[in-house]
Structures are given as structure tokens and as C-alpha cells.
């Protein structure tokens, strides 16, 4: 390795390389190893993959953890629930965030900076506390119920917490800034004269939007969607605080399998399947998108 590098460059490459192999790659390899190990009572609660005894070298591996997951609709449903939560909330964030980002980007410079600061403040405020705020609002004795009762829409407080709609609301609320900020970043560079030009040439506003504005803001849409979709897939905190038992999600299942059932091999197999099912498509999409961009340049 040293042969290739000048001495002063060596530490620049080697330090982070070593760190990431040790604390990122090896742990991932380890959950792969545990996921194909046999469960066992004891500490650690799985049998060693390789053993050397009088009978000789033995490999004790199994695919039963994976078969177990994929034969039980409970786990498959939780994967699908997480994917549909991520998909729904990404679309909602986009629909709500796009007009906001658009109008902020189109504002006059002095107002724009104030609006931008107002967008960044929730972004820097603790994620957990913003989820907690909705828990307070949606309580039976909470402010939304009080308003609805006061206006005469309902007579008794309705239970708005502990269902998957509350989870979607919480996700959209906490991840909205992640959608708005990259969209804003692209829309603010956008030349407003292009809209005037399209209008002058007789384009209907809807066509101006679909054929001029939307294609030019596509990179922002993709960046924002990624920033929402990826973390929401593994989201644990929001379903735990606002959700109920009507829908279970992937993150919660791993958590329970590890902390409650103490079944390390199944928890690891869930995590590995999660990487394959949820993360690989995203990586492939990004690579394809990068290639597409490269070709267009």
C-alpha cells in the first residue's frame, strides 16, 4: 500500500480507510455472519459459525433465519408497510414542499433571506422534540380536539394518536425541511426570465410549469426525495411515539427482535434483508441517475 503513496498522503488515505473498515465494514460483515448462524440459548445467543474440535473443522451455518422471515407474512408486511410509508410521505412532502420552496425562491432578496432562516430553524431544532410536539397536539385533551369541539364539529374528543395516519403526519412534518431545502437550492438558481419567455410565447401556465420549471428542478426533486425516502424506510422513533398497533414498521420489528425477543440471528437476518430490499434499489437508482446526468452533460 505504502509503495503507491507518498508519505504525507499515506495518512490522509489510511486513517479514514482504516476507521471505516473497522467500524463500518466489519460490523456489516458481522451481522451477515450472525444472520446465517444457528440460534442458541446462552451468551452470545448464537452458535459459532466455525468451530474446531476433535471431530475437525466444522461450519455450522443455516439459511433458516431467512426462510423464517420470508415464510412469515408478519415480517413481509412490515417491510411493505415501511416502503409504503416512505413512498406516501415522500410524495406528500413533495406536494407540500414544492410550492413553498418555489415561492420562497421567487421572493425578493431581502424577504427571501428571512424566509430561508425561518425554513432552517425547524431543520436545526431537535427531531425528537418536533415529533413530541405532535404527540402533545393530537392528545385527546389536546389543542386540535379542543378547537374541533369548540367549533362544534365533534362533541367528544376523538382519538387521533396511535394510528398510521398520525405516523404519516409526523413523518411529513419532521422531514418537510429535508425536501424544501434542496428544492429551494435548485429553484433559487432558476432564471425567472424563462417563465416570462414561455408566457410571452403563449404557453399556458400549466405547460410552462410542466415543460420548463419542472424539468429544470428535477435534480432538486430527486435530492429532496432521497433525503426523505431513505431515512423514513428505517424510521423507528416516529412510529413508536405516534403510531399504534394497526401497522408495524421495519425499524420497530428489528428493535423488538433484538431488545425484546433477544433473537440476534433473526434480527441480523432482518437487517441484511433490509439492506438488500431497501438500500440496493436506491444505490442502483443513484448510479443510473449519475450515468444519465453524465451522458447529458
Amino acid at each position: 500500500m505504502i509503495r503507491y503513496l507518498k508519505k504525507q498522503n499515506f495518512w490522509f488515505v489510511f486513517t479514514p480507510y482504516f476507521w471505516l473498515v473497522l467500524f463500518f465494514f466489519i460490523p456489516l460483515a458481522l451481522i451477515f455472519k450472525i444472520s446465517i448462524s444457528v440460534s442458541e440459548w446462552g451468551m452470545p445467543p448464537y452458535r459459532d459459525l466455525f468451530s474446531l474440535s476433535e471431530e475437525g473443522f466444522k461450519i455450522d451455518s443455516t439459511l433458516s433465519n431467512y426462510l423464517f422471515i420470508f415464510s412469515d407474512p408478519f415480517y413481509i408486511r412490515s417491510y411493505l408497510n415501511s416502503l409504503s410509508l416512505a413512498f406516501t410521505s415522500t410524495i406528500l412532502c413533495l406536494l407540500i414542499g414544492y410550492p413553498i420552496a418555489f415561492y420562497v425562491a421567487k421572493s425578493q432578496a431581502n424577504i427571501r433571506i428571512i424566509l430561508l432562516v425561518l425554513l432552517i430553524i425547524p431543520f436545526w431544532t431537535s427531531f425528537l422534540l418536533r415529533v413530541y410536539a405532535w404527540k402533545v397536539l393530537l392528545q385527546g385533551s389536546g389543542i386540535i380536539n379542543s378547537i374541533l369541539i369548540h367549533l362544534g364539529f365533534i362533541t367528544e374528543p376523538i382519538s387521533m394518536l396511535h394510528n398510521h395516519y398520525a405516523v404519516i403526519l409526523g413523518v411529513v412534518y419532521t422531514y418537510l425541511p429535508f425536501m424544501i431545502l434542496p428544492l429551494y437550492g435548485y429553484l433559487v438558481k432558476f432564471d425567472l426570465n424563462l417563465i416570462d419567455a414561455a408566457n410571452d410565447l403563449g404557453a399556458k401556465p400549466i405547460n410552462t410549469f410542466l415543460k420548463v420549471i419542472l424539468p429544470l428542478s428535477l435534480p432538486g426533486i430527486i435530492a429532496g426525495s432521497m433525503l426523505v425516502f431513505i431515512p423514513v424506510v428505517g424510521e423507528f422513533v416516529i412510529p413508536e411515539m405516534l403510531g399504534g398497533s394497526d401497522k408495524l414498521y421495519f425499524g420497530k420489528i428489528i428493535w423488538d427482535e433484538f431488545f425484546v425477543n433477544r433473537d440476534w440471528p433473526v434480527a441480523s437476518a432482518l437487517a441484511m434483508s433490509g439492506i438488500v430490499i431497501l438500500v440496493f434499489p436506491i444505490v442502483i437508482f443513484q448510479l443510473m441517475y449519475a450515468k444519465y446526468n453524465f451522458k447529458n452533460e
Binding site: P122, L128, V233, S268
Partner: protein, 272 residues
């Protein structure tokens, strides 16, 4: 005439969108702050104005200790992550011969897309195994949380630094090299000052990532290393806590003050 009506309509629609949008963003936080002054143990039933929960918050040693732990871990994690993030950004843009380069790129970018629950699980199992095999780390605690936070923050800093380094003119460095400046000097005198703003924003991002993290810390923490999100989560997981309302108000105040000062620093900078 028709044009004016159209323009008025557009302006109305714009103000309406922005009002609804910003109300949605701020209504929950502001309600939380308002109710933090409520003199009632039942969070949502208004009894009267008081600073009671702020007093109790500042006497709650569990929260204060967790706050101190979080700040300590976040600043250390941000510092180490920034140093390594700069190293990665520099390596990927300036050093052509990196052994197994695609693997290095994979390592430095995939923490970005790895769900935190998987990251937390894998690190916990790693710490347990390594304790089993070589006896290190001897127990889970602040050190293991710190290592985990550095690991996922590095990727975020690296992205910021890398995009800055690849967008600025390399010729300046080459010119310095032609003039006989030694490579170390080039880094400290030319590259580092140019990327300083990115280093600062990378540090701040890593700091907030660590301060905000609940999931990875829950997996990798041990006795005596409760971070603020862990304590807050245990308080609000099953119910509401008026002390947490007070805490939210204080955090909001800090963020708003920071945002305002950044705004004024930027403005005076631009005026100059």
C-alpha cells in the same frame, strides 16, 4: 386591467401558500413553547402562567447530566468526523492512487444511505464481539457512542468537503507546486483556507447529527452514558412531560439566537 387582476390573484395565492406552509412548520413548536409556561401537571389543561417547569428542569440532574454528556460527545464526534471527512474529501479529489479505490468510495458514501437502525445494530454486535475476543471496548458507554457517531458523521462531512474541493480551481495548487512549495505547505496555506467554510458547515452538521441521534446511541450506549435524546425519549415514550416542554422552549431559543446571529454576520459580511 385583466393583467392586474391576474397579478393580484397570483400574489394572493403566493401569500396564502407561504402562510399555510409556515403555519404548518411553526404551529406545533409554538404550541409546545406556550404550554411550557402552564402551571399544571396535565400538559394540555391550562391553569395559569408560571416558570415552574423551567425551575424543575434546572433541578433535574438526570436531564442536566444527559445534556452535558450529549454536548461532550457531539463536540468530540464532530471534531474527529471533520478531520477524517477532510482526509476523505482530499484523498478522493487529489490522490489518484488509492488502493481499491471503488471500495474506498463505497465505504465513505454508504453510511449516508444506511438506515440508522441497521447501523446501530451492527455496531452493537461488533462491540460485543470485540469485547469477547480482545477485551476492547471493556464496556459500552460514552466511548462506544462516540465511535458510532464519528462513523456515521464522517460520510456527511466527506460529501460536503468533496463537493467543495472538486468545484474549485486545482491550478492554484499546481502553480504553488511549480513554484516549489512543499505539499504540506500547499495543504495548510492554500487548500485549507479555501475549504474553511465547508469545514465549518461540516462540523456543525456533524455536531447536530450527534446531538439529535437517538437510535444509534440507544444501541451502543451503556451505564452512565445516557445522552439527552435517550433521556427525553424515555420520558415521552409513554406520556407527556411538562419538563420536556420547557426543554423544547430553551432549545428553540438557542436555535433562533444562533440563526439570527448567523443572519447578521452574513449581512455585515455582505455589506463590507
Amino acid at each position: 386591467m385583466q393583467n392586474t387582476i391576474l397579478r393580484m390573484n397570483k400574489l394572493f395565492f403566493k401569500i396564502l401558500t407561504l402562510t399555510i406552509g409556515f403555519s404548518f412548520l411553526y404551529f406545533p413548536i409554538l404550541t409546545l413553547i406556550a404550554y411550557s409556561f402552564n402551571d399544571n401537571k396535565r400538559v394540555m389543561v391550562w391553569k395559569g402562567f408560571s416558570f415552574r417547569w423551567y425551575k424543575e428542569l434546572f433541578q433535574n440532574e438526570q436531564i442536566l447530566e444527559a445534556f452535558y454528556t450529549s454536548i461532550k460527545i457531539a463536540s468530540l464526534s464532530a471534531t474527529f468526523a471533520t478531520i477524517m471527512g477532510v482526509m476523505i474529501g482530499f484523498s478522493l479529489t487529489r490522490i489518484s492512487k488509492i488502493p481499491a479505490r471503488p471500495f474506498f468510495i463505497f465505504l465513505s458514501s454508504s453510511p449516508l444511505v444506511m438506515p440508522e437502525i441497521i447501523l446501530g445494530l451492527s455496531l452493537l454486535l461488533f462491540f460485543i464481539s470485540s469485547n469477547h475476543i480482545i477485551g476492547f471496548p471493556s464496556s459500552k458507554g460514552q466511548l462506544t457512542v462516540l465511535i458510532s457517531h464519528i462513523t456515521f458523521s464522517v460520510a456527511f462531512v466527506a460529501v460536503i468537503i468533496q463537493s467543495r474541493l472538486s468545484s474549485y480551481d486545482k491550478n492554484i495548487e499546481e502553480a504553488a507546486q511549480d513554484l516549489g512549495t512543499i505539499p504540506n505547505m500547499i495543504f495548510w496555506k492554500i487548500t485549507a483556507p479555501v475549504i474553511l467554510p465547508s469545514i465549518i458547515s461540516g462540523w456543525l452538521l456533524a455536531f447536530t447529527l450527534s446531538l439529535d441521534d437517538l437510535v444509534v446511541a440507544s444501541f451502543t450506549t451503556g451505564p452512565g452514558a445516557n445522552t439527552l435524546p435517550i433521556v427525553v425519549f424515555s420520558k415521552v415514550r409513554l406520556g407527556l412531560s411538562p419538563e420536556v416542554n420547557a426543554l423544547s422552549a430553551i432549545i428553540m431559543l438557542i436555535v433562533v439566537l444562533a440563526a439570527i446571529s448567523v443572519y447578521f454576520i452574513n449581512r455585515s459580511h455582505i455589506k463590507k
